[in-house]
C-alpha cells in the first residue's frame, strides 16, 4: 500500500512516520485511505469533489500552523503528515459531539440508506458524548412532502451537503440546494416546494449518500420491523441496457430495498428511479405462481408442471407433424438472462432445425 509503481508515483511523503508514495493529484485523504489510516469524515463521498465541510479529516502537516483538511489538501513531495495525534483526536471528538448536538436522533435504522450509519459509527468509535453542547437543533423536517420514496427528515440533517452535491455533480439534476446560511441552513428545492414539483428525478442518490438517515428510503424503511438480518446480494438492475450494479437487500424471503453498488462498473454508484425504487413488483400478488392451461371455455386453470409441460410439448409436436418444422417460431426475451435466450434459440434450432427465432429488439 505504501509503495506505488514507478510509472504512477509522483512523490513521497511521510505519513505517521512512514514513507508513503503518492500519485498525481492525490490528496492527503486519498493517500491515507490507501494506507488504511481510517481518517474520519462525514462530508466526503469519493465520487464527489472534495468539499472540506466537516473538518473531521483534519491532519497536522509540519510547517503549517493549523491542521489542514486532508480531503482538500494535495499531497506534496516531502510533506510530513500526522493523522492521529492526541490533539487531532480531541478535536474530532469535540466536532462529533457538536454534530450530535444538532440532531434529534443519532441512531437510525440501517434500511434508511447506504451511508446512514456513518455518523453513528463515528460517534461510537470516538465515544462521543451525545448529550453535550445542548441548544437549538438545526434543520426542520419536511413532513408536507408526501412523495412515496424519499423521507426528508431534516431534524437529523447535519448540513454536510452531500445530497446537494451528489444531485448536482453525480446526477446532474440540480434539484436541491441550500437555503439560508449558518445554523439556519435548510436543504430545499427551488421555492421550497415538494420534490415532485422540482427537477428531482427520484434517483435516490441523495438518500444513499446521507450519513445520518435524514434522507431515508421510504420504501425500504417499511421493513424496519420485519424480523431478520439484512442480507445483501450483488446483482444487476434489469430496467435498461446500462446494466447498473445493485445490492439487493433482503430480509428472509423478501426483497426490502436496493442499494446502488458503489463499485459497479457501469454505474459507479448511480441509479435511477426504476432501479432504486421499482423493485417490489417481485412480490406483487399478480405474479404467476403455477402453470396455467387454457380450457375449452377460454379461461385458465392452474395445472401441475408435468401436465402443463406435456401440453406445451404436445402442441409443438402436433404442429410439426401437421405443418412441418417451419411452422414453429420462437421469440426470446430481451429482458430475461442469457440462459433464457440461449435455450430458446437452441430449442428452435436443435428441436426443429430452422433459424425461426427472434427476440423483441424489433419493437
Amino acid at each position: 500500500m505504501n509503495q506505488l509503481a514507478e510509472e504512477i508515483r509522483v512523490g513521497t511523503l511521510t505519513l505517521d512516520g512512514e514513507p508513503v508514495d503518492f500519485r498525481e493529484g492525490e490528496t492527503i485523504y486519498e493517500v491515507s485511505e490507501r494506507c488504511r489510516r481510517e481518517v474520519p469524515t462525514l462530508c466526503y463521498d469519493p465520487r464527489l469533489e472534495a468539499f472540506g465541510a466537516c473538518r473531521l479529516c483534519v491532519v497536522e502537516v509540519e510547517g503549517i500552523r493549523n491542521p489542514v483538511a486532508s480531503c482538500t489538501t494535495k499531497a506534496t513531495e516531502g510533506m510530513v503528515v500526522r493523522t492521529r495525534t492526541k490533539t487531532l483526536e480531541k478535536h474530532r471528538k469535540t466536532l462529533l459531539e457538536l454534530v450530535a448536538s444538532e440532531n434529534r436522533d443519532t441512531k437510525v435504522d440501517e434500511l434508511s440508506g447506504y451511508a446512514s450509519q456513518e455518523m453513528n459509527d463515528l460517534l461510537v468509535r470516538y465515544d462521543a458524548r451525545t448529550g453535550r453542547f445542548g441548544g437549538k437543533r438545526s434543520g426542520t423536517s419536511n413532513s408536507k412532502d408526501k412523495n412515496p420514496f424519499i423521507l426528508r427528515d431534516y431534524d437529523n440533517c447535519i448540513s454536510c451537503y452531500r445530497c446537494v452535491r451528489v444531485c448536482a455533480e453525480q446526477e446532474g439534476d440540480h434539484a436541491i440546494n441550500i437555503m439560508n446560511r449558518g445554523f439556519d441552513t435548510q436543504i430545499i428545492t427551488e421555492f421550497n416546494n415538494d420534490l415532485r414539483d422540482s427537477s428531482c428525478t427520484f434517483c435516490g442518490q441523495c438518500v444513499q449518500t446521507c450519513p445520518t438517515g435524514a434522507l431515508t428510503d421510504k420504501k425500504a424503511i417499511r421493513a424496519k420491523d420485519t424480523p431478520g438480518e439484512i442480507k445483501k446480494t450483488r446483482s444487476v438492475c434489469t430496467y435498461c441496457g446500462v446494466g447498473c450494479s445493485v445490492d439487493i437487500l433482503t430480509k428472509g424471503d423478501r426483497v426490502v430495498g436496493i442499494h446502488p453498488a458503489m463499485d459497479g462498473p457501469a454505474n459507479e454508484g448511480a441509479l435511477c428511479i426504476k432501479g432504486q425504487f421499482a423493485f417490489d413488483f417481485v412480490h406483487h400478488p399478480d405474479r404467476l405462481s403455477k402453470p396455467l392451461i387454457k380450457q375449452e371455455d377460454g379461461t385458465f386453470k392452474e395445472a401441475e408442471w408435468d401436465e402443463a409441460l406435456q401440453k406445451a410439448a404436445d402442441g409443438f409436436l402436433k404442429v410439426r407433424e401437421k405443418y412441418g418444422n417451419h411452422a414453429v417460431y420462437g421469440v426470446a426475451s430481451g429482458r430475461a438472462p442469457h440462459e433464457a435466450a440461449y435455450t430458446m434459440q437452441k430449442f428452435i434450432r436443435a428441436g426443429f432445425g430452422t433459424n425461426y427465432i427472434d427476440n423483441c429488439s424489433r419493437a
Binding site: 446480494t233 444487476v236 457501469a266 406445451a312 430458446m344 430449442f347 434450432r349 436443435a350 427465432i357
Partner: protein, 528 residues
C-alpha cells in the same frame, strides 16, 4: 456501443440523435452531464424539446423521419469545410471517393426544406461535429425504428468514418441498448440471421458447427423475423402455426396491435413464459410462471458489451421456475437431446464453448463483471473499446445513401405526425413498474403531448379526452399541452395498456431489419 460507458465523460462534442437518454438511460445520461460540466459541447437532434435538448448548445428539432437528410447535410458541410480526417480515411476506409461525390448536392439548404430546421443550424451542426476532438455519437430507437433505420445508422457511420471518430477514447458510435438484455439476446443467437456469437446462419461452416453441436441438421439459411412470422400467422395461407414467447408483451409493445392480436389468436398453439398474465399471455394455450429479477441466477450483457452476473436473492413465488429450465423441459418432452442442464452455469458455459466472442469466458470468470466482449481466449482482457487499431472486417466502408420519406406522410386526412417513446417512470408496458409502489404518484396515466398553439388551433383544452386515429385504428387519449412537442407533432408512450397507442402504429418496416417505423405515423385528432 463502440465505446465503454466511462468514455461518455470524455467527448469534446456530443451528438445525440433519436435518444431521450435522460428518461430512457438516466444513469448513462449522468455521464454526459459530467462531460458537459467539464466543457463538452452538445448537439441534440430530436423533434421534441426533451431534457437533453434543454442542455444542448444546439438543438435541431427535425421533422420526424428526416434524419438521413440531416446527416447528409452535416456530411456535406464537413467535406466542404475540409474537416475530414484524411489520414484516417486513407488508412482505414474505402469508398470515400464515391461518397464525397455523392454528398455534393446535399446542401444544408436542401436538407433545411426536409428537416424543417434552418440551414444555418445544420451548417453549425456539421462544423461542431467536424471540429470535435473527439466527437461521439449516441443514439437509440429514434434512429432504428424507422423504415430507414439501417440508412440512418449507416449515415451516422459515414460521419464517424469521415472524421476519424472511431477507436478513440470519448468518440465512437454508440447505440444505447433499450432492454436490459437485448444485447445478450443477440449475443446468444436469438436472432434469425445469427447463431450464438454472431456466427452467420447462412455461412455453411457455422451451420455445420451448430448442426454438429446440437446433433441435428440445421438449415444453412437465415430464418424469418418475428414481424414476418406474425404476418404469416395472420395470413390465410398460414405458415407459422405455433409460437413460444418468453417475457414479451407483444400485444402492447408491437406495432399494429389489431394485426398482432389477430396473428396470435390465429395460432394453433401458443406458449408464453412470463411473470404476469399479460395481455399476450392471456392469448396463450399454456402459460408458465417464470422467476424474476432477484430470483434468478444468470448473465446479462449491457449496452457496452459488458457480461455481468445476475444473482438470486430470494425464492420465487409459488412454483415459478427459471426460463431456461422451462424451455429445457419442453425441449426434452419433444425429444430434443442436449437439454440436460442442471443450472444456469451449465447453460452459460455451453454458450461460451460455442461462441468465439465468449471463448475466454466462463461462469466463474464473470464473477466481477469485468469483461466486455469480444474475449477470444482466457488470456484476453476483454474489449471495452472497439475499432481501436483496425476494423474487424478490414476497412470501414462508406455507404452511399439517399433520403426517403417515411412510409406514411401527413396528408389532408391524417394531418398530424405522431411519434412514440418512453417515459422515465415507466418501463415498457408497465408490467413491473406499474406494480411497484409509488410510481403512480409520479405518473399514473398516459397522455398525448401537444403544443399549446396546436391545441388552441384545434380547439382542444389541456386535460380533454380526444380521439386519435390512424389508418389502422383509433384510441382515446387525454391531451396535455406542452412546449416539449413541436407544432404539428404529437407524442405519447406505449407503456399504458389503457392507452394502446400501438393500435395506430405499424405504417412500415425497414426493408433490411424489418424493424417497425414506430417513430412515425400519420394521425388525425378529433374532439368527442
Amino acid at each position: 456501443m463502440s465505446n465503454p460507458l466511462r468514455d461518455m465523460e470524455h467527448p469534446d462534442l456530443i451528438f445525440c440523435i433519436g435518444t431521450n437518454m435522460t428518461e430512457c438511460h438516466p444513469v448513462a445520461a449522468t455521464r454526459l452531464k459530467k462531460a458537459i460540466a467539464n466543457g463538452a459541447k452538445m448537439i441534440v437532434a430530436d423533434p421534441r424539446e426533451i431534457q437533453l435538448a434543454k442542455m444542448a448548445d444546439l438543438h435541431l428539432p427535425i421533422r420526424v423521419g428526416s434524419d438521413v437528410a440531416l446527416l447528409l447535410a452535416m456530411a456535406h458541410v464537413i467535406a466542404r469545410e475540409g474537416l475530414i480526417d484524411q489520414d484516417f480515411i486513407d488508412a482505414r476506409t474505402s469508398g470515400v471517393g464515391e461518397f464525397l461525390e455523392h454528398l455534393k448536392e446535399f446542401t444544408p439548404e436542401w436538407a433545411s426544406e426536409i428537416c424543417e430546421v434552418p440551414a444555418a443550424d445544420l451548417e453549425k451542426a456539421g462544423i461542431l461535429y467536424g471540429q470535435g476532438t473527439p466527437s461521439a455519437i449516441y443514439y437509440t430507437l429514434g434512429i432504428t425504428e424507422h423504415i430507414s433505420g439501417v440508412d440512418n445508422v449507416q449515415s451516422l457511420c459515414n460521419l464517424a468514418l469521415m472524421t476519424g471518430n472511431l477507436g478513440l477514447e470519448g468518440g465512437g458510435i454508440n447505440p444505447m441498448r433499450g432492454q436490459n438484455n437485448i444485447q445478450g439476446a443477440g449475443d446468444c443467437g436469438a436472432v434469425p440471421a445469427n447463431f450464438p456469437g454472431f456466427q452467420p446462419c447462412d455461412d455453411p461452416a457455422s451451420a455445420r458447427k451448430f448442426s454438429k453441436a446440437y446433433g441435428i441438421e440445421i438449415e444453412a439459411q437465415k430464418g424469418i423475423t418475428k414481424v414476418t412470422a406474425l404476418n404469416q400467422a395472420a395470413s390465410a395461407e398460414g405458415g407459422i402455426h405455433a409460437m413460444i414467447i418468453d417475457g414479451e408483451n407483444t400485444v402492447i409493445s408491437d406495432p399494429d396491435m389489431k394485426h398482432c392480436e389477430h396473428a396470435l389468436k390465429s395460432l394453433d398453439h401458443l406458449v408464453v413464459i412470463d411473470l404476469f398474465l399479460t395481455e399476450t399471455a392471456q392469448l396463450a394455450d399454456v402459460v408458465f410462471p417464470a422467476t424474476a429479477f432477484a430470483e434468478t441466477d444468470g448473465v446479462q450483457t449491457n449496452t457496452e458489451r459488458r457480461v455481468q452476473r445476475l444473482r438470486a436473492a430470494v425464492p420465487p413465488p409459488g412454483e415459478a421456475k427459471p426460463d431456461w429450465w422451462i424451455i429445457s423441459q419442453i425441449a426434452q418432452r419433444i425429444g430434443t437431446p442436449g437439454f440436460e442442464f442442471e443450472s444456469a452455469k451449465d447453460v452459460f458455459n455451453e454458450l461460451c464453448s460455442l461462441s468465439p466472442i465468449y471463448a475466454g469466458l466462463d461462469w466463474d470468470r464473470i464473477e466481477n463483471s469485468e469483461y466486455s466482449w469480444p474475449v477470444p481466449d482466457k488470456d484476453h482482457p476483454g474489449t471495452p473499446r472497439l475499432h481501436e487499431k483496425e476494423f474487424k472486417n478490414g476497412r470501414g466502408l462508406f455507404k452511399v445513401i439517399g433520403y426517403r420519406d417515411p412510409a406514411e406522410v401527413i396528408d389532408d386526412e391524417f394531418p398530424v405526425w405522431l411519434t412514440t417513446g418512453r417515459r422515465l417512470e415507466s418501463y415498457h408496458t408497465r408490467t413491473q413498474t406499474g406494480r411497484s409502489a409509488g410510481i403512480d404518484y409520479l405518473l399514473s396515466e398516459e397522455s398525448l403531448e401537444i403544443h399549446p398553439a396546436d391545441a388552441e388551433a384545434w380547439d382542444m383544452a389541456d386535460g380533454e379526452i380526444i380521439r386519435m386515429s390512424s389508418r389502422r385504428g383509433e384510441i382515446q387519449i387525454k391531451i396535455r399541452t406542452t412546449d416539449r412537442s413541436p407544432q404539428g407533432t404529437v407524442f405519447t408512450s406505449f407503456s399504458f395498456a389503457s392507452v394502446p397507442v400501438n393500435i395506430l402504429t405499424g405504417s412500415g418496416y425497414d426493408p433490411v431489419t424489418e424493424t417497425a417505423e414506430l417513430k412515425v405515423c400519420a394521425v388525425k385528432l378529433e374532439k368527442f
